[in-house]
Amino acid sequence: MKQKADVWQGTLALMVLKTLDTMGPLHGYGIARRIEQTSGDALILNYGTLYPSLLKLEQEGYIESEWGVSDNNRKAKYYKLTRAGRKQLEREATEWNRTTEILARFLSSAKASR
């Protein structure tokens, strides 16, 4: 059986922001599904991690929430990216890319020198 990784706290915020950026306003379930799907079901998302993360982003002003109605007429709380959130996403994404790049280079060079 394939082992599923838990999402770490730091990266989850980035994933949420990116998801909202691509998908537009979305409810919690949608965000969770989207993240799981995007990861090719390699990740499982714990709601006990997702909700506090959403709350934190909201408190920091990167996302906003609003009660709305879904396609099949169900009441749901929708989250959407704010302007500050978009900027934060750019910043975080650049930061993340740089980090992974450095790490990748580091790991490959370490392999080469062996």
């Binding site: 379930y29 006990g48 920091e60 169900r74």
Partner: protein, 953 residues
């Protein structure tokens, strides 16, 4: 910035909790529905779809809790919840809470009170700028160069120099020392000027006076509130006579009238002018605290007079400015870089030399040759920030004794509360187990239980602070000062102390039970609904009860010792009859300088008062007996050059008869012992024993500078200045031969002396309306004054003893009712096995009495070790007095037996009610014949015979 905004939002969330909660629940539900719909679409049945969705979601409560933690400030909210819960719990059990809070309030209140008194007594410095720059001069060692010596307070003995010490100096010595160190220190002198008749704008009344050197105010750093204060120029014999008056006197007597400055006043017949007002808050320098019936106590002086003016306010030829009279206190303000040691080294040789010369001048004025061998004391320079005198050893000792009593009381209260908490926590074992099983961590339980005890002690602390605040007027009384001296301030130090002691108490009595209770095994605790005896819990409870009883016994035996000391002192043989004696005097200061007139006034007063019905006889002396003041004089015995000294009293010929002091040998004075006849003296038995051992002193003669004085009689010893000390060697001089300026009358009455007082008042007023009646008290009052401290100790220690006993008994009662309640089942079993109520009672009581016995043994041990500290305060018994110890132990045992017995009977009734039900259980147990159970029953069975009997069946 963002995190600050986030913080603000979190803070905002504290206030709309309900909405947030509903919002969260709705969101979770809607997300669940999305999942269910997806599952249905995937072809699951509706039940399966919901189940799978819930599984997928995970713990809903866990998610909610995670959100909550992010939402507000969980720690803060938890604390607030704990407090609210604690208050709810405490309110549910009101009687329990009331007992706890009341005992805490008393202990904390008493300790706060004590702290404010300590603060006042030990930390307060003279109310002048930079008091730490002040030094005081004193001397220590053999002093043979003092002709007349005045002391007004206590000087602690010097550890290095044997002999007595003093803090007064002759005027010439002071001036010489002052001039010697002029560049490094500003030495100033001052002395008590007595109470004088002050006439302003035609009105006369009495005012307390202090004589001060011209640099007094300059050195102390005090400037006038109005007008001007003295300068050294005012302190010369030829200067215009001026006085300064205190703010209080200005207010009291002149209604703060500013025109008083420059007004002429008459003091004892001499003219002065008011120069200025001394600001408030500046008291005397430790002078007037010394108690004497003739001084106005506890107030700053009303009037200050320059030293050089002293001859104008005292009778002719009575000035202390001359040689040989040690009467002046010397203090000084030193320059910042000067060390006390340097100052002392500089002054010492000058002092020794000048003191000798002063004595030589005195002898010369009496027409005698200077002595070579006269011993001169050493000079000591000591820090003067707290005034001239040391606190009498009784004062700090009083405070430490009181402090340890209060400390013990607080300990008992803590122990008692720990016990109460424990017994209540045991009742809550199930509640705690439930909380533990639904996920409360040990840390959370501990926090909750500690919060409860802190809330409790906060309530106790608040109540205690009120107790201390309302009771503060009485602190000086506890310390043996006269009431109304000054209320003690409650400053921030005191409030901080109260807060600290409260929190500490809360934690101390909370921590042990909390640790104990929070260590629950939830499974065990929930299984047995009746609640088992938790052996470790009851062991701790027992230890606490033993500790309480031990500590109470310490306090009760202390109280017993003080009470017996008081009764011993009250019963002490005074050597005279103190009942129905009225002491009074008249102030003749208005006829200053007219000795003839004053003498006539005294004689007239005496003649008329004798005629008042109810007055049996009247006499006079220069000092009242047992008032705290005494004088001494030096002498030598004919045929010896050795200078001795003894307490001296001047009395009239009716004194011994009026005071009912027996004449042992020779005769009392008669009217014939006057100026024309041979000088005579009467000595007391101690004098005879000390100076004429194994010889008949009658007819022996004493030298005192003048003609030889013949001893004509020996009278019985009387307690003179202290009730504890044996009578000092005393000689009595006849007033007819050594005239005195102030007469204290002793009137022996046949009725209550105070009923005679108004008549005496009228009589004196009729003689001369310008002379006031002063210093009125009964002899019994002066004796009571001597016993003030003892009475205070007996009273407060009894109070605390009773309090401690009460609290301990509450503790024992609580433990016993809890223990008996725990044993209801066992008691039922025993009764069904045929045990009588009597047997059960005996077993319950014997358990309690073992604790009491152990407590008493420990208590006696602690008491034996600690009562040594109070040995100095006792009289007529040792600190290990067996009778007191036995009485204290018996009292404790009786009360403890009562406290242990009271909870038993109602429980026994319940025990017998359960008898029937238990029979059934027993039969089952017998059938199972489980060895372990039988072992248990062997303990509870009334006798082996009964058990065997039961088994046979």
């Amino acid at each position: 910035m963002r995190s600050f905004v986030a913080w603000l939002k979190r803070f905002g969330n504290l206030f709309n909790k309900t909405r947030n909660e509903r919002d969260l629940a709705d969101e979770i539900e809607s997300n669940l529905q999305f999942q269910i719909e997806d599952n249905l679409r995937a072809g699951m049945s509706s039940a399966d779809a919901r189940r799978a969705a819930l599984l997928k979601f995970g713990s809903i409560d866990g998610a909610k809790e995670a959100v909550r933690e992010r939402r507000g400030f969980p720690l803060l909210e938890m604390f607030a919840r704990d407090i609210a819960y604690a208050i709810r719990i405490l309110r549910r059990d009101r009687a329990w809470t009331a007992v706890a809070v009341a005992s805490l309030a008393l202990a904390i209140g008493a300790n706060t009170a004590l702290f404010s008194v300590l603060n006042e007594a030990l930390l307060v410095k003279l109310p002048v700028p930079r008091p730490d720059e002040l030094v005081a001069l004193r001397w220590a060692g053999q002093n043979d160069v003092a002709g007349t010596l005045y002391e007004y307070g206590y000087i602690a003995p010097d550890s290095k120099i044997p002999g007595k010490g003093g803090a007064t100096f002759p005027h010439a010595v002071f001036e010489r020392l002052r001039d010697e160190v002029r560049e490094t220190a500003d030495l100033f002198g001052f002395s008590n000027g007595g109470t004088r008749n002050v006439i302003v704008r035609g009105n006369g009344d009495m005012a307390s006076c202090q004589l001060v050197s011209g640099n007094f105010y300059r050195a102390l750093g005090i400037s006038a509130e109005l007008g001007r204060l003295f300068s050294p120029d005012d302190d010369t014999a030829s200067a215009d006579p001026v006085i300064a008056i205190s703010h209080e006197y200005w207010q009291r007597r002149f209604g703060s009238d500013p025109s008083i400055v420059g007004t002429p006043v008459t003091i004892n017949g001499s003219a002065f002018v008011v120069a200025g007002i001394v600001p408030t808050g500046f008291g005397d320098l430790g002078l007037l605290r010394a108690s004497s019936a003739l001084y106005i106590e506890g107030r700053p002086p009303d009037v200050w007079i320059p030293l050089a003016m002293e001859p104008r306010i005292v009778p002719q030829n009575q000035s202390n400015l001359g040689a040989g009279t040690w009467w002046l206190h010397v203090m000084g303000r030193v320059k910042p870089q000067t060390k006390i040691e340097q100052l002392q080294a500089r002054l010492e040789p000058v002092f020794v030399n000048e003191a000798k010369e002063d004595w030589a001048r005195r002898l010369k004025s009496l027409g005698k040759e200077p002595e070579r061998s006269a011993g001169t004391p050493n000079l000591r320079v000591v820090p003067g920030s707290r005034g001239v005198y040391d606190a009498p050893p009784s004062e700090p000792a009083a405070l430490t004794t009181l402090g340890s009593v209060f400390g013990i009381l607080l300990m008992i209260v803590c122990v008692n509360l720990a016990n109460l908490m424990l017994s209540r926590a045991a009742k809550r074992q199930r509640e705690i187990a439930v909380r533990a099983s639904i996920g409360a961590s040990r840390k959370r339980l501990l926090a909750q239980l500690l919060t409860e005890s802190v809330v409790l002690s906060a309530a106790g602390g608040a109540a205690g602070f009120l107790v201390a605040y309302w009771g503060r007027a009485s602190y000086p009384v506890w310390l043996g000062y006269k009431p109304g001296l000054q209320p003690i301030d409650m400053n921030w130090t005191v409030i901080g102390f109260a807060a600290a002691i409260t929190t500490l108490t809360g934690i101390i009595f909370g921590i042990v039970p909390a640790m104990r209770v929070s260590r629950v095994d939830s499974a065990t605790a929930m299984r047995d609904s009746a609640g088992q005896i938790n052996p470790s819990r009851s062991r701790l409870g027992r230890v606490l009860v033993v500790a309480q009883i031990a500590l109470s016994l310490v306090l009760v035996s202390g109280a017993g010792l003080f009470l017996r000391t008081l009764t011993n002192l009250q019963r002490v043989d005074l050597g005279f009859n103190p009942n129905n004696i009225l002491l009074f005097s008249i102030d003749t200061g208005v006829y200053q300088g007219n000795r003839q007139k004053r003498s006539e006034l005294y004689d007239e007063t005496m003649r008329r008062v004798t005629k008042i019905p109810g007055v049996r006889s009247i006499a006079f002396s220069n000092l009242p007996i047992l008032s705290g003041s005494s004088g001494s004089e030096s002498f030598s015995i004919e045929g010896s050059s050795e200078i001795r000294s003894a307490t001296s009293v001047t009395v009239d010929e009716r004194f011994f008869q009026t005071m009912e002091i027996p004449v042992r040998l020779g005769r009392a004075f008669t009217a014939e012992d006057d100026r024309g006849s041979v000088p005579v003296v009467i000595i007391n038995e101690s004098f005879a024993k000390e100076f004429f051992p194994n010889t008949n002193p009658i007819g022996k003669r004493l030298k005192q500078g003048g003609p030889l004085i013949e001893i004509i009689g020996v009278v019985g010893d009387i307690k003179h200045s202290s009730l504890r000390a044996p009578a000092p060697p005393t000689f009595y001089f006849p007033a007819t031969q050594s005239p005195i300026t102030v007469r204290i009358f002793e009137a022996r009455t046949t009725v209550d002396p105070m009923t005679i007082l108004p008549v005496i008042w009228d009589t004196v007023h009729q003689i001369d309306s310008k002379i006031p009646l002063v210093a009125v008290s009964t002899q019994m009052e002066t004796i009571a004054g001597r016993l003030r401290e003892e009475r205070m100790f007996a009273l407060s220690s009894s109070l605390f003893g009773v309090l401690a006993l009460t609290i301990s008994m509450i503790g024992l009662f609580g433990l016993m009712s809890y223990a008996v309640a725990q044993r209801t089942k066992e008691i039922g079993i025993r009764m069904s096995l045929g045990a009588q109520r009597r047997d059960i009672l005996r077993s319950v009581l014997s358990e309690a009495m073992i604790l009491v016995a152990v407590g008493i043994v420990f208590g006696i041990m602690v008491a034996q070790a600690s009562t040594r500290w109070i040995a100095d305060r006792l009289y007529g018994l040792t600190p290990h007095d067996p009778l007191t110890m036995i009485l204290a132990a018996v009292l404790t045992i009786i009360l403890a037996a009562l406290a242990a017995y009271l909870p038993a009977p109602p429980r026994l009734a319940r025990g017998s009610a359960r008898r029937a039900a238990i029979r059934m259980k027993l039969q089952f147990l017998c059938a199972s014949s489980d060895d372990e159970h039988w072992r248990d029953f062997r303990h509870v069975a009334p006798s082996d015979a009964g058990l065997a009997d039961f088994r046979l069946r």
